[in-house]
């Protein structure tokens, strides 16, 4: 068996090996990688930096994969020399490895432009997992970061750092961002988008020096101006790693020169990926290197192919909320080219097609890349667009619903990163009875690269397997297509303090009745109530602090803590009910009294005359604590549940929660106030208290889980407070405690609340304290309305007869 040595454990090397393994086994493969990690998806490093993915999630092949395929893996070994005569490679560990065939896939290294001080501490590049980890280590809230380079990588790095809380400025040499992919106008749109997200952008700046003693403290430009920085990231491009090619005596220009069969000037040595030059072009994107890998695999195993024909360059910026897609030629004003363009500055949308002889030669999309598949298809097929000339940017409605996956031939490539055709995906789904997108990814690798074909894969799956499961994504709603967990982090790190800002930057700018209240709550919990509340984003109940009824009147439920009232209170309630002709007075299931059918304009007067605080019966917030009479009167009570319940209500009242929150405290296990079916229940027993959580007796009936058992009432309230704040911070909006506890498991709830490290508990308590301090009885607004017309009907300034 022949010996194949592969230098480079990156996406190109592995992509190539994966292709070789598809043929009959012919080689003993030894693989050298100078990084100490398993091979990973390099283009997703920006997602790791942005906290969207963990390092583990971007690993492409597990150790078992190497073992199963009998690949000898040598991690952390750099190949320093090639002896083409002896056919051996020399490692930096002194090892000499013989080969019959050699595959070079060394990739590239970051290009460091000539400037002073690049070896100082606090100067980083962004190329591999170690770089990413180093950046994550030094990024913190408020740190000033300067990113040199406004290309794809620089912008993604900038965005990632900004999500981590840094104050980021992108410094770019050219007159526009991504100048290799965008024209001047498109660059302008992108700059506006980045600035709108809070990333500062400086163009036409030539960085001459990195300032600072040992450690970087800023940068200086050629005009002498300076910019302070806590650290600097250089992302100014890449340089193919060609040193080994030179040492092996291969023909080398900018990259290692290869022919269409991917052979170098030595027939036993092949090269692939970013280190090669084909037809005078060096590629730095993922799709070409995978195409090249296929050709290498065929050539090296002795299967003739038409050879590599070059790749239409296509780039997609992977920043959530900033759609940028560019492919093909972007020639600014080349004669013989037609430019078709569309701009909407208010929406930030720019589209520009370059046509030559009625065929698509290039495309730029900023702000809306939803049609990128259609344009990529036109670019690759080179189809004549004369017939469609009127509908290039605006598909004919109904007749043409965009790129219809059902209509394209089986041979058409769906996943550009891995070159997987529609037919291959369909075969895999049918032969292996796949039913989820995850399985499709696993079996075909489709959509595991940049992920832009995920929707198409899902469409195919849905077409073949009716009722196939959609990938579970916990979005608030379609207006803001980001999971709540992530969005909370974004809001926190970006210091976003209003609902409209979230919608403008990360959503559709409009919002709806589902996401606006959810985002309002998110603001409240992230900023502990110290944000500027936007009432227009809240449901009517939270604008007027009463519960709207079917006829447009409202219901008023004053707070009666623990269900314990007094003759004076009852008299006042009775007086108010009579005076305002309240149509119905009702004892609620929560040991309170409801005044139903109240006019909006009467609300402030009624609140004032009741002289009682709001019972929050209208909101997603703390409702009440139901209690039994405990030890005061009951013959069986063993704990003072009435006092404990009233105190718990005092501590939590006026706060908002993801959904309504009902509590109870009982003085003995007879459970007269039904604590075991409440969101939080305190159950008194001889000498101790049980704290139970996640109970329900509503749409769903569920017995609460035991959180912890403690000795004193104060400890019980402390434990309840930990759970209360944990639920506030981690549940999705409109998720009741019973769903929340089931989703995360009671074990994890315990681990992260009552059994959490002291510092974690203190954090929860401190944030609860802050929220409580910022909260107030909503009914005080009766005296000082938020807005002059909050409770009143508008009287027209003039009256008309009639």
């Amino acid at each position: 068996m022949e010996k194949l040595v592969v230098v480079g454990n990156g996406m190109a090397g592995i992509g190539c090996v994966e292709q070789i393994l598809k043929y009959a086994k012919k080689f003993e493969i030894t693989l050298f990688g100078d990084e100490t990690h398993l091979n990973y998806n390099r283009i997703l490093l920006s997602s790791v930096l942005a906290g969207e993915k963990s390092a583990e999630e971007i690993v492409l092949n597990s150790l078992e994969w190497y073992e199963k395929n009998e690949i000898k893996l040598r991690l952390g070994v750099r190949i320093v020399n090639v002896d083409p005569a002896q056919k051996t490679v020399l490692g930096d560990d002194g090892s000499v490895t013989p080969f019959d065939k050699l595959l070079l896939a060394m990739g590239s290294t970051p290009l460091i432009p000539p400037m002073e001080g690049t070896s100082k501490k606090g100067v980083y590049v962004f190329r591999n997992l170690d770089d990413t980890r180093a950046l994550l280590d030094c990024s913190r809230t408020g740190a000033k970061a300067v990113v040199i380079g406004g290309g794809l990588l620089g912008l993604e790095a900038a965005r990632g750092l900004q999500v981590q809380g840094c104050d980021v400025t992108v410094v770019h040499l050219m007159d526009r961002l991504m100048e290799r992919q965008l024209d001047l106008t498109g660059g302008g749109y992108l700059k506006a988008k980045m600035e709108c997200m809070g990333v500062a952008v400086l163009l036409n700046r030539n960085t001459k020096a990195i300032l600072g003693e040992e450690k970087a403290s800023g940068v200086r430009f050629d005009d002498g101006s300076e910019l302070a920085a806590d650290f600097v990231v250089i992302a100014a491009g890449i340089r193919p790693n060609i040193e080994l090619g030179r040492k092996a005596g291969l023909s080398v220009h900018r990259g290692i020169v290869v022919n269409d069969q991917m052979e170098t000037s030595n027939p036993d040595i092949f090269a692939v990926g970013e280190c090669v030059e084909h037809n005078g072009v060096c590629y730095g994107l993922v799709a070409p290197l995978l195409e090249q890998g296929k050709v290498v695999a065929a050539t090296i195993t002795g299967h003739p192919t038409p050879g590599y024909q070059g790749t239409v360059p296509a780039a997609k910026l992977k920043i959530m909320g900033v759609d940028v897609f560019s492919a093909g030629e972007i020639g600014e004003t080349t004669p013989g080219y037609d430019i078709v363009r569309f701009e909407d500055p208010a929406l930030g949308i720019y589209k520009r097609l370059t046509l030559k002889d009625n065929r698509l030669a290039g495309v730029i999309l900023v702000g809306d890349a939803s049609e990128s598949h259609r344009y990529m298809d036109w670019l690759q097929s080179k189809q004549d667009l004369t017939e469609m000339r009127r509908h290039l940017l605006f598909p004919q409605p109904a007749a043409d619903t965009g790129f219809d996956v059902a209509a394209v031939p089986d041979s058409r490539v769906i996943c550009g990163c891995h070159g997987i055709s529609k037919g291959a995906i369909i075969r895999a789904i049918q032969e292996k009875s796949l039913s989820t997108l995850g399985q499709v990814k696993e079996c075909t690798r489709a959509s595991t690269g940049c992920g832009s074909c995920t929707d198409l894969c899902q469409q195919l799956l849905n077409a073949i397997v009716p009722g196939a499961q959609e990938e579970k994504k916990k979005f608030i709603c379609r207006c803001v297509p980001i999971s709540e967990d992530r969005l909370r982090e974004i809001v926190r790190s970006q210091r976003i303090r209003s609902v409209q800002e979230v919608l403008d930057i990360y959503g559709n700018g409009v919002g709806c009745e589902a996401c606006k209240p959810a985002l309002s709550y998110m603001m409240d919990v992230v900023w502990c109530g110290e944000h500027n509340e936007d009432r227009s984003a809240r449901f009517v109940n939270d604008r007027v602090h009463a519960n709207i009824q079917k006829d447009g009147t409202f219901s008023v439920v004053p707070r009666i803590r623990g269900g314990v009232t007094s003759p004076e209170e009852l008299r006042r309630i009775a007086d108010v009910a009579e005076k305002y002709r309240v149509p119905m007075l009702k004892i609620t299931g929560s040991q309170r009294i409801d005044l139903l059918g109240v006019q909006k304009a009467d609300l402030p007067k009624i609140w004032a005359e009741l002289g009682m605080p709001s019972g929050q019966a209208y909101t997603k917030g703390v409702r009440m604590v139901k209690t039994c009479v405990g030890t005061d009167f009951c013959r069986f009570g063993v704990q003072d549940s009435t006092s404990a319940g009233i105190e718990m209500e005092r501590r939590f009242e006026n706060l908002f929660t993801p959904h309504k929150l009902k509590m109870a405290a009982v003085g003995c296990p007879r459970n007269c106030a039904e604590a075991t079916v409440k969101d939080i229940g305190l159950i008194g027993q001889e000498g101790s208290w049980q704290i139970v959580v996640g109970g329900a007796a509503g749409k769903k009936v569920r017995k609460a889980d035991l959180l912890v058992t403690v000795e004193s009432a104060e400890e019980a309230l402390q434990a309840a407070a930990l759970f209360f704040q944990y639920y506030r911070e981690n549940a999705n909006y409109l998720e009741r405690t019973y769903d929340f506890v089931e989703r995360v498991s009671i074990e994890r709830v315990r681990r992260e609340t009552v059994y959490a490290p002291l510092a974690v508990q203190q954090g929860l308590r401190e944030r609860l304290r802050k929220s409580k301090a910022a909260s107030r009885d909503a009914w005080l607004e009766g005296d000082e309305p938020r807005h002059p017309t909050q409770f009143v009907q508008i009287e027209p300034m003039e009256r008309l007869a009639g």
Binding site: A537, K550, T789, I794
Partner: protein, 145 residues
């Protein structure tokens, strides 16, 4: 447009907060006015579904979502957008801003009665503490078993 329609001065713009609605009564007709930031729009304050007060709804773009059962009404056409139902449509009213005052145009030949009696009628009724109807007795006891 009805030639006899007249413009009625309603209120200062700032009395209707951004992305919220307010209700006013002109000629006995309740009208909801919304401030969308770049313009104001007015419709009947009555959801075509069950008569909900649209002025209390959450604004979503140029639509409002009724607070009672979340019907979405397009404020520029008055038509129900969700569930889409061209039949379910309410009146819209031309609106203009003059010197910071919201002005509304109402067809003068249309003299309206109060369209929402249930909204306030009970205030003039004697209080009835119990508003339940007696439960209908089982018709035939023999059917029970």
């Amino acid at each position: 447009m009805n030639p006899e329609a007249t413009w009625v001065r309603i209120t200062a713009c700032e009395n209707i907060p951004l992305r919220e609605g307010r209700v006013t009564t002109v000629r006995g007709r309740q009208i909801a006015i919304f401030n969308l930031g770049d313009r104001f729009l007015a419709v009947d304050n009555r959801c075509p579904h069950r008569g909900g007060p649209l002025s209390e709804g959450i604004v979503s773009g140029t639509s409002v979502v009724c607070p009672l059962h979340a019907w979405k009404i397009d404020l520029s056409t008055g038509a129900a957008a969700n569930p889409a139902s061209p039949a379910a449509c309410i009146a819209t009213f031309p609106i203009r801003i003059a010197d910071g005052i919201v002005e509304l145009q109402i067809p003068s030949d249309e003299i309206e009665q109060d369209r929402s009696p249930e909204n306030c009628a009970h205030r003039d009724r004697p209080i009835r503490w119990v508003q339940r109807k007696p439960i209908a007795p089982l018709s035939a006891p023999s059917e029970v078993l």
